[in-house]
C-alpha cells in the first residue's frame, strides 16, 4: 500500500538517483569545542533514500556530525549542502529534517496525539487534515489505540515509535536518528530495528542513524560510515566494511578480528613463525614488519592437509561454547595465538577438544595486512 504522495516521492527519488547528485553533501566539515577537535575535515555524500549509519566508539564525533547536519551544533569550517541548498549557516528551524533522540524527548505533559501533531499545529493544515495526518502516522507506527495516553504511560518501545511518528509528521526529506534504539531491551531493539528499516524503505526518506552498536549498523544500513577520533575511517556497504576493512581501526571495531605480527618475505608472501603464507592484495615492502588480520570464522579446519599452502600447525588451548558455534583459542608452533570459530558440526565431526593438535589454513583471500605499528592491534598482542 503506497500512498500517492509517496509514489510521487519515489519518482522524484529515482530522478535524483539517476542524476547522481547527492541529496546531502558534507564538504570538509570541522568542528571544535574549545581545544577539543570533535570533527576533523569530514567529507561525505549521502544519496536520496539511502540509510546511512554513523558508527564508532563514544566520543568519535558521530553525534557531533549528526548535530551539525541538524544545525543544533553548527560546525566551524566546511559546508553542508542539502538538496542543492547550502544549509551550513541555517538555524535548525530553517532546515528540513526530523529527528529522534536517544531520550526520545517526548513532551511529558502532552498525550501521544498532541506529541505527534506538535509540529503540524499552527501550520497551513486545517484541523481535520491534522487529525487525519496524526491518525495516518499513528497507524504507520502501530499505535492507533494509544493516542490519548501520556508518554509516561507507554513502554520504551512505544515511546520510541511516538518519537518516530513525530519526527516524520512533517514529511521531512531527511530523518536523523541519534542512537534511537540504545535505550531499549535487546529483544525490542532487534524488532524495532527491522521495523525502522522497513518504514524508511516504504517512505523512501533519506535516513542517517548514529549508533555505537556495530551489529545494528550492519543489519540496518545501506552504507556505514565508520568514525574514530573525529575522522572518517571508512565508508562502505556493511559487507564491504566487514569483509574489506581498509583501516586497522575498522577491522578491530567491526566484528571479531585476529591481529598477528608478521614479516614480509616478498610481494604477496609473509612469514608467520616458520610458515610462509600467501596473501592476496597489497602488502608492504619486503623485509618490513606488518600486522596480519584474519577473522575467526575465516580460519579453515576441515580438509586441511599437512604441507598444503597457507596451512599451519596449531594446538587447541581453550574452547568457549557460544551457542551456535564455538570459539577456540589456538596456539601456533611459533607461540602466537589465534581465535578461530568452529561450527558445532565441525567440533563434533573432528571431535575437537583442548590439547588436540591440528592443522589450520588461513585462506589467502581472507587475510588482510596492515603496516606496523597498528595502534588498534597493540592490545591484541
Amino acid at each position: 500500500m503506497v500512498e500517492p504522495s509517496f509514489a510521487l516521492a519515489q519518482i522524484e527519488l529515482d530522478i535524483s538517483m539517476t542524476s547522481k547528485s547527492p541529496y546531502l553533501r558534507i564538504e570538509r566539515v570541522s568542528k571544535a569545542f574549545g581545544d577539543f577537535q570533535a570533527l576533523k575535515d569530514i567529507s561525505l555524500d549521502v544519496q536520496a533514500g539511502e540509510f546511512v549509519c554513523f558508527l564508532g566508539p563514544s566520543g568519535c564525533g558521530k553525534t557531533t556530525l549528526l548535530r551539525a547536519i541538524a544545525g543544533l551544533d553548527i560546525h566551524n569550517v566546511g559546508t553542508i549542502i542539502q538538496n542543492g541548498i547550502d544549509i551550513s549557516a541555517l538555524p535548525p528551524s530553517q532546515r528540513d529534517f526530523g529527528i529522534v533522540f536517544q531520550s526520545y524527548a517526548l513532551f511529558p505533559n502532552l498525550n501521544v496525539v498532541d506529541n505527534v501533531g506538535y509540529g503540524l499545529v499552527g501550520g497551513k493544515m486545517s484541523r481535520t487534515q491534522i487529525k487525519a495526518r496524526i491518525a495516518e502516522l499513528l497507524a504507520m507506527v502501530g499505535l492507533v489505540a494509544q493516542g490519548s495516553k501520556y508518554p509516561g504511560q507507554l513502554s520504551g518501545g512505544q515511546q520510541q515509535r511516538v518519537a518516530l511518528a513525530r519526527a516524520l509528521a512533517m514529511s521531512p526529506g531527511l530523518l536523523l536518528l541519534d542512537e534511537p534504539l540504545s535505550a531499549l531491551d535487546a529483544r525490542v531493539r532487534q524488532h524495532l530495528r527491522g521495523e525502522l528499516k522497513q518504514l524508511q524503505r516504504r517512505l523512501a526518506v533519506t535516513a542517517i542513524m548514529v549508533t555505537h552498536d556495530q551489529e545494528e549498523a550492519l543489519a540496518i544500513a545501506d552504507r556505514i560510515v565508520v568514525m574514530n577520533e573525529g575522522r572518517i575511517e571508512q565508508i562502505g556497504t556493511p559487507i564491504d566494511i566487514y569483509r574489506h576493512p581498509t583501516a586497522a581501526f575498522v577491522a578491530d571495531f567491526v566484528g571479531q578480528m585476529n591481529f598477528v605480527p608478521v614479516d614480509c618475505e616478498s610481494e604477496g608472501r609473509v612469514r608467520l613463525g616458520e610458515a610462509i603464507l600467501d596473501v592476496n592484495g597489497e602488502s608492504p615492502m619486503a623485509g618490513a614488519a606488518a600486522t596480519l588480520c584474519i577473522r575467526p570464522e575465516d580460519i579453515q579446519i576441515r580438509g586441511v592437509v599437512v604441507g598444503q599452502g597457507n596451512s599451519v600447525a596449531a594446538v587447541i588451548e581453550r574452547v568457549e561454547f557460544l551457542g551456535s558455534f564455538c570459539r577456540a583459542e589456538l596456539r601456533l608452533v611459533c607461540g602466537r595465538r589465534l581465535h578461530a570459530d568452529f561450527s558445532i558440526n565441525a567440533m563434533r565431526d573432528l571431535s575437537l577438544a583442548p590439547g588436540q593438535d591440528l592443522h589450520i589454513a588461513l585462506p589467502a583471500d581472507r587475510i588482510r595486512l596492515f603496516p606496523v605499528p597498528v595502534s588498534a592491534a597493540s592490545h591484541h598482542g
Binding site: 529527528i99 524527548a105 505533559n109 502532552l110 501520556y150 508518554p151 509516561g152 521531512p172
Partner: protein, 544 residues
C-alpha cells in the same frame, strides 16, 4: 534570544550590580563624594563603640549558630532517621517561623521574658533585652532554614552502608560517628554557614529586643536613618558582607572535597522502629516544637489581651489598626500589593531568566555571567541591599531617581533580594526537563516561545508556583531591605509593626505581625490547594 539575554543582563546590572557598586564606592568616599581610600574603614576600626558592636555581632551569631545547629540537627534526625510518631506534624510546625517577620519572635520574647513576662524568673535576674533575647529570637528565626538543609542532608543515605556497618558488628555510636556524621558533613557545614550569615545580618530581632546591645545591622540603620552618616553606613554594610564571603570560600573548599555519596546503586535507608530511641527523639522534637509554638502563641496571645499583664480579658481592639493611632490598614494593603506584584513580576522575570540561562543556545559566556549575577543576591544581606538602593536610586543625577520612594523601587528591590533561591529553584526544575525539547521543536519548525508555553511552563508549573509563593511570603515578611526605601505612601505592614513597637505599643505590633503570619499561612494553604487542583487537571501525565 540573545536580545532577551542582554535585556536580562541589563536588568540585573541596574537592579543589582550598580547599586552594590555605589555602596562600595560610597565607603571609599568622604561626605563630599571625594575618594579617600580606606579612611572610613580606619575611622571605623578606631572607634571602640563600633568595634564593640562588631564583637557583639560575632558573639551572638556564634552562640546562636551553635544552638540552632544542635537543635536543628536533632530535630532533622528525628524527622528522617527515626520512626517517632507525628513526623508530619513536627515537620509542619518547624516551618512556621518562615511565615513570620523576624521581629515577631522578638515581640513574643518581650511578653515571655520581658520586665512583665511570665517566665522572667527563669532568666535569674538577667535582662531579656540584649544578647539573651537576640540569641533566643534568632534561634526561632533561623531554625527552619537550618532544618531544611539538614533534613535534605540526612534524607540522602545509602541503606547498604548501614547494613554493612551492622554486619561488621559496629555499635550504634560507632555507626553514627563513621557513617551518619560523615554522610551529612557537607549539610552541617552549609547549614552552619547559612544560619551564621542569617543571624549576623538580621535586623528585625535585634531591633526589637536588642535594647542597648548594638549589632552591625542596627548600626547601619542608626548611622543612615538616625545620623545621615552614609559613608559609615556603607562601611558597616560592607562588613555585613563578610560572612557571606567567608561562606563562599568555605563552600568552595568543601565542594572540592565533596564526593558523590549516593551512587546509582544506593538503596535508600528506611528507618526501623526503635522504641526507646523513637520515644527520646519524640520528647526532644516535642520540646523544640513546643518552644516554636510557645513563641508564636505568645505573640498571638499578646495581640489579643486588653492590657498585658494586668487585664488578660480578650479583645480584638489591637487589630483595629485605624484606632491604634497608626496608619490604619493602609500598610497592610501596601504589603499585599507589593507581595502580589513581587510574586507576579518576580516569577516571570526569574523563571524567564532562568529559562534563557539554561536553555538558550550559544552566548555561553553571557549566560555564565548571568548565572553568576543571579547567585550574588544570596550573599547580600537585605540591609546591605536596601542601603545600596538608597545610594543608587536616591542619587540626584540618576535618571532612575524618579522611582525612589515609589512602590516600584520596593518591588524591584524585593525581587532582587530573593532572586537567588528562586533562580536556583527554576534552574533545578528546568534541568529536569529534557534538554532536547528545544531541538525537537526546532526540527518541527515550532517557534521557541510556543514550546516554552506549551511544554516548559506546564512541566515546571509546580516549581513556578513554589517560586511565586516563596516570593510572596518573603515580600510579606521582609523588613531589612525595604526599611530604607519606603515612603509615607508605601509604608509596609512589617515596617509599621517595627515603628509601632518603637512607639511602645507592643500589642498592636504583635497584632500586625500576626496579621502577616495569617496572610502568609493563608497563601501557603491556598498554594497547596491550587497545587492539588493543578496536579489533578494538568499534571495527569505525571501518573503512570
Amino acid at each position: 534570544m540573545r536580545c532577551c539575554l542582554l535585556l536580562l543582563g541589563l536588568y540585573l546590572t541596574v537592579t543589582l550590580v550598580l547599586p552594590l557598586y555605589t555602596l562600595l564606592a560610597k565607603s571609599l568616599q568622604n561626605k563630599d563624594g571625594h575618594f579617600v581610600g580606606f579612611a572610613n574603614f580606619a575611622r571605623y576600626f578606631a572607634d571602640p563603640a563600633m568595634l564593640q558592636s562588631f564583637a557583639n555581632t560575632v558573639h551572638v551569631s556564634a552562640i546562636g549558630t551553635i544552638i540552632t545547629l544542635l537543635l536543628a540537627f536533632l530535630y532533622a534526625y528525628a524527622l528522617t532517621r527515626t520512626c517517632m510518631a507525628g513526623r508530619g506534624f513536627f515537620r509542619a510546625v518547624a516551618l512556621i517561623p518562615l511565615l513570620a517577620p523576624s521581629l515577631l519572635p522578638g515581640l513574643a520574647l518581650v511578653y515571655l521574658f520581658g520586665n512583665q513576662g511570665i517566665f522572667k524568673s527563669l532568666l535569674f535576674g538577667h535582662e531579656i533585652y540584649g544578647p539573651i533575647g537576640i540569641v533566643m529570637g534568632e534561634v526561632f528565626f533561623a531554625f527552619p532554614h537550618a532544618l531544611i538543609i539538614l533534613v535534605t542532608a540526612l534524607s540522602v543515605a545509602d541503606g547498604r552502608l548501614y547494613e554493612a556497618a551492622e554486619s561488621l558488628r559496629a555499635r550504634p555510636a560507632r555507626i553514627f560517628l563513621t557513617v551518619t556524621l560523615p554522610g551529612c558533613r557537607y549539610g552541617l557545614v552549609s547549614a552552619s554557614l547559612v544560619i551564621f550569615t542569617l543571624i549576623f545580618t538580621d535586623f528585625g530581632v535585634p531591633k526589637v529586643i536588642g535594647g542597648s546591645y548594638n549589632v552591625l545591622a542596627t548600626d547601619v540603620y542608626r548611622q543612615v536613618i538616625g545620623q545621615f552618616n552614609f559613608q559609615m553606613g556603607a562601611v558597616v554594610g560592607l562588613l555585613l558582607l563578610l560572612p557571606a564571603v567567608l561562606s563562599f570560600a568555605a563552600d568552595r573548599i568543601m565542594q572540592r572535597k565533596q564526593v558523590a555519596l549516593l551512587s546509582a546503586r544506593a538503596v535508600p535507608l528506611q528507618p526501623k522502629p526503635r522504641p526507646l530511641t523513637d520515644r527520646v527523639f519524640f520528647c526532644l522534637a516535642a520540646a523544640v516544637a513546643g518552644f516554636l509554638l510557645l513563641v508564636l502563641g505568645m505573640a498571638l496571645f499578646g495581640s489579643l489581651v486588653k492590657l498585658w499583664p494586668y487585664n488578660l480579658s480578650l479583645t480584638l481592639k489591637w487589630y483595629d489598626f485605624a484606632r491604634a493611632g497608626t496608619d490604619g490598614w493602609g500598610p497592610y494593603f501596601n504589603s499585599l500589593r507589593m507581595a502580589a506584584l513581587v510574586a507576579a513580576i518576580g516569577t516571570a522575570i526569574i523563571f524567564g531568566g532562568a529559562y534563557l540561562v539554561e536553555k538558550s543556545r550559544g552566548a555561553g559566556r553571557l549566560r555564565a555571567i548571568l548565572h553568576l549575577l543571579a547567585m550574588i543576591p544570596l550573599a547580600v544581606p537585605g540591609i546591605v541591599l536596601g542601603l545600596s538602593y538608597i545610594f543608587f536610586f536616591n542619587a540626584p543625577d540618576n535618571p532612575l531617581n524618579f522611582i525612589y520612594g515609589t512602590m516600584t523601587v520596593l518591588v524591584v528591590n524585593t525581587i532582587c533580594h530573593f532572586y537567588t533561591v528562586s533562580h536556583l529553584t527554576a534552574i533545578t526544575a528546568l534541568k529536569q526537563v529534557d534538554a532536547e525539547f528545544e531541538s525537537v521543536a526546532a526540527s518541527l519548525k515550532v517557534p521557541l516561545y510556543r514550546t516554552f508555553w506549551r511544554v516548559t511552563v506546564p512541566v515546571c508549573l509546580p516549581a513556578i508556583l513554589d517560586i511565586s509563593v516563596y516570593l510572596f511570603v518573603n515580600a510579606m515578611t521582609t523588613v531589612s531591605a525595604v526599611v530604607f526605601l519606603y515612603s509615607a505612601e508605601t509604608k509596609l505592614m512589617s515596617i509599621n509593626a517595627i515603628n509601632t513597637d518603637d512607639a511602645g505599643n507592643t500589642a498592636a505590633a504583635c497584632a500586625m505581625g500576626m496579621t502577616i503570619v495569617a496572610t502568609s499561612a493563608a497563601l501557603k494553604g491556598l498554594h497547596s490547594l491550587i497545587l492539588r487542583r493543578v496536579e489533578r487537571r494538568t499534571q495527569a501525565w505525571r501518573k503512570r
